[in-house]
Symmetry: C2
Amino acid sequence: MKNMNAAVKNSKPLPKTTSTMQDTRICFIGDSFVNGTGDEMMLGWAGRLCAEARQQGHDITYYNLGIRRHTSTDILQRWPELALRQHPDSDNRIVLSCGVNDTMMENGALRVDFETTIDNMRELFKRMESSPGLVVGPPPVGDAPQNQRIQTLSNAMQIEAETAGLPFIPLFDHLIQDSAYLAEIAKNDGAHPKSTGYNKIARIILDSEKWWF
Amino acid sequence: MKNMNAAVKNSKPLPKTTSTMQDTRICFIGDSFVNGTGDEMMLGWAGRLCAEARQQGHDITYYNLGIRRHTSTDILQRWPELALRQHPDSDNRIVLSCGVNDTMMENGALRVDFETTIDNMRELFKRMESSPGLVVGPPPVGDAPQNQRIQTLSNAMQIEAETAGLPFIPLFDHLIQDSAYLAEIAKNDGAHPKSTGYNKIARIILDSEKWWF
């Protein structure tokens, strides 16, 4: 956690402390980037965000529902996993992040065509209306044509999320300009960062006014 | 991770390195202790075990399926969550740990009576036969009568697991003698430790010959 704490030091001012701590349960649902695949610290960006919120004094329960290879279609199908982790007396929140796997070519075709992805996103965002929710955009990978599709999707997701009243934090535009991030994923498996990259993603989210803590 | 690395330093010798790294995906399914509730580092014992295996050079994907308040009945019902996280070409493993919530009194009755818990365990262990599996026993809490029930259950789980050919690592006997652990949970919420206690649990498992890495 040393790197993270150093990176996080000049963060937003500490929130006001309250006498009764609210029981906040955050489900992060998505793909391998949500899972933190490749992070030798096993935290990913989601774990780092929760550890940071906890350090600020928030009572956080952290549920990581990232699954490798999962597209927006897969995530829609397993949406009921969320309800099992929510408690009626708690402040239940949802963070959704996906999209990279939708844009993957497999056997000569996209895993999910663009129109279906957008339909899925609309349905996912609709289901997020009942809880405080946040959407995090897909990051770039090591393949230029796929990155074009990811960027297009990220822009479309932002429009759809904001239309649905959900805050959206993009990752693509930050990370595509970050040569150290791109070098880290190239040296790893061509798609996933290691701890330095996950730290950067957490940093982007922590720096956004749209993040809760 | 500093505490963990220090605690882990005199661990088992490094395993033989192999030229092709196997893609190992471990699902940890269970309750709040599996989730790591209370750990300010957001790793719990499961995350610590995976980070340690990764540090030894293993290619680990870490899926945490611990849910607060879940009994053996709840876990049986959501067993299909596991298959979504397994990949046909991977080395898919399952670690199960539960039991404390079964032994809780609620509205004057046990949340799950002992016979039903044992029936559930038999069914859970049967479902674990297809993957390499491991069972971790329930830890003590801050309530003496409940601890008696937890100890009885832990002993019964060990017999059932070993009868089913599954390795079982008990936590209860170690932790009930550890006054610092018991003081930590008393100071926290009466049941869950913080990072020091989760570190100890990870240490007990790492020290066992039954742990894989």
